[in-house]
């Protein structure tokens, strides 16, 4: 294996490679073992269990439970919430990212917003639901908003709180990639501000924008803590239903309900991520 490594294109003639008798891949065994047990194995368990009944026999029909009208409601609920919150997050996040990026690259405003975005994008969860509860909930300081517990708009507003910062983080590099010369060159050739965005800025940012939106969508899809703290009595979306079926024995009999739901989500995320990767590749063709 070490010989393979040294003849690989781009590989340096490793001094140690000739001397060592252990193959190179041995060095990665601890990592591979860890990932194998705590990432690949659980994923495999989900897939296998989704395709088996509790007694252990293969039963592909359990997957058809995804077509069950009740189950479909949760998936539609998830889709609605994610679509609304990711589009809101993407549009407003892009505006904010542009405002931040057009300032001093070394300035305090930029640092403050990026650090805050880092915290808020990752740190949503329980805390976030509490924060909005104190602002707009039944005892809210600003208003006792009647729509606070409405699905999907009430919760979408709370989701926007972590989706916008996430957009700032993932979209900022694309905006920074817009070179000043492109704007100046288009202006020089006679373009108005609107024509610049229509013909140059817009098309250049479009793949990154759509890609980032997909990432926001995936992020919202798997969010669970926020909605659980917002309303734990009624299940609207798939993750809540997974939680219920994991923590109680109730559920559709005869199949591994949680596994089937998880598999359904996995397929959704996989579709989104593939789209994201394709768009990103397109974007990088221009920006690199």
């Amino acid at each position: 294996m070490a010989v393979v490594a040294t003849t690989e294109p781009g590989a340096r003639p490793a001094r140690a490679g000739r001397r060592a008798s252990i193959p190179g891949w041995v060095g990665t065994v601890p990592f591979l073992a860890y990932v194998g047990v705590f990432l690949l194995l659980p994923t495999g368990i989900v897939i296998v269990d989704a395709l088996k009944n509790p007694s252990g026999a293969w039963q592909f029909s359990s997957v058809t439970e995804l077509g069950n009208p009740l189950v479909r409601t949760y998936f539609i609920g998830s889709l609605k919430l994610c679509l609304i919150s990711s589009v809101i997050g993407a549009v407003f996040g892009a505006i904010l990212a542009y405002a931040v990026a057009s300032g001093n690259p070394d300035g305090v405003v930029r640092r403050l917003y990026l650090a805050a975005s880092g915290v808020l994008a990752q740190f949503g969860g329980i805390t976030l639901a509490f924060a909005f509860l104190t602002l707009l909930g039944p005892v809210g300081l600003l208003a006792h908003a009647s729509w606070f517990y409405d699905f999907p708009w009430g919760i979408a507003l709370i989701y926007a709180y972590f989706e916008i910062p996430l957009m700032v983080l993932v979209f900022m590099p694309a905006i920074d990639g817009l070179k000043v010369q492109w704007r100046e060159a288009s202006e020089n050739l006679g373009a108005s501000a609107w024509q610049y965005w229509r013909h140059v800025g817009g098309p250049l940012l479009a793949p990154a924008f759509i890609g980032s939106t997909l990432l926001l969508f995936a992020n919202a899809l798997s969010a669970f803590a926020t909605i659980e703290a917002w309303e734990s009595q009624i299940a609207y979306i798939v993750p809540q239903q997974i939680s219920i079926s994991l923590s109680s024995e109730v559920g559709l009999s005869n199949i591994n309900y949680a596994d089937v739901l998880a598999l359904g989500m996995m397929v959704m995320v996989a579709i989104i991520m593939t789209g994201y990767a394709l768009l990103q590749r397109r974007a990088s063709r221009w920006l690199r």
């Binding site: 010369q181 202006e187 020089n188 006679g190 098309p203």
Partner: protein, 369 residues
Amino acid sequence: MTSPMTRTQDGTARAGVEVRMDGLSRHYGPVVALDKLDLTVQAGELIALLGPSGCGKTTTLRLVAGLEDADAGRITVGGKDITHLSASKRDMGMVFQAYSLFPHMTARQNVAFGLRLRRIAAATRDKRAIEMLELVGLSTQADRYPHQLSGGQQQRVALARALAIEPQVLLLDEPLSALDAKVRAQLRDEIRRIQLEVGTTTLFVTHDQEEALAIADRVGVMKDGRLEQLAPPTDVYSRPATSFVAEFVGLTNRLAGTVSGQTVTVRGRDLPLVDPSTPAGPATALVRPEAVTLASDSTGDSGPLVGTVIAVTFLGATSRVTVDLGDTTILAQLTTADAAELPAGSRVALTIRPDPVLVSADSPALSEA
């Protein structure tokens, strides 16, 4: 370039217009980038603005392009005041240092962009884009994206794009500085050829003196936001107006001397002065290395013009020889064949050709440093 150049017939070569700058000033906070600049570019002329970074040459260009606002002063093009006109309405073609091509458009689309903004029919602008690409020798690369082109090719496309809109004025902002030496020289000559062909009034900004001297009708040497000298290349080189120009353009020896009347006496030789009104007294004379010739000296005498070779730098056809004169060192530029006769350590006798020389305002005591 090997590809044949066809001259376009549909009015590419239109008469240039005069560009006038009057008292143009620009500050960045406390920093004065441009200090009451007066400069007139004749119709169809190419002026190269030359100077170290921060001298205000790029600021001048950006003010003319309208990418920045002047704090004071006036810019007129063909007699029309454009000082407060927005950049997009100025009808100027600009070539930037690098990376200014739109990366999501092919070379052809880039060149056609300005025409598209002017709502010119697709067929017409396509034809014209191809013509412009032919002019810069890139018609075979028309459908490539910028990242598939080399740096030199990208700059050619940028030039074609700037010329496609038939601008009144062409502005070139160090367009060659990101290229390697050979491509740089080639493209430099080509820019000059195309400029003469289309006849557009052109401002060319560079920090490379060789480039400026090679390409321009007149060279403007700038320092601290002011023009030090504006003159044809030969004059800038052989009759520099200030010691800054003399030292920035070409290499210069600083030699202590004494001014009396029309001459300055340097190491026993009388040399004519560029500026006859120089006050008499001790001074520092600026002598070009190519005005110094060397001959092998076997007499063993010591004198003010006898020294020892301490280094020879091979430059190709010529070589630069450093000679130790005891109290100072002097650079001489010789043909490589001549320099080969004078290895390090040999005794040499110097001759200084009596070209007119400039005397530095600096005190001679400091100049030896």
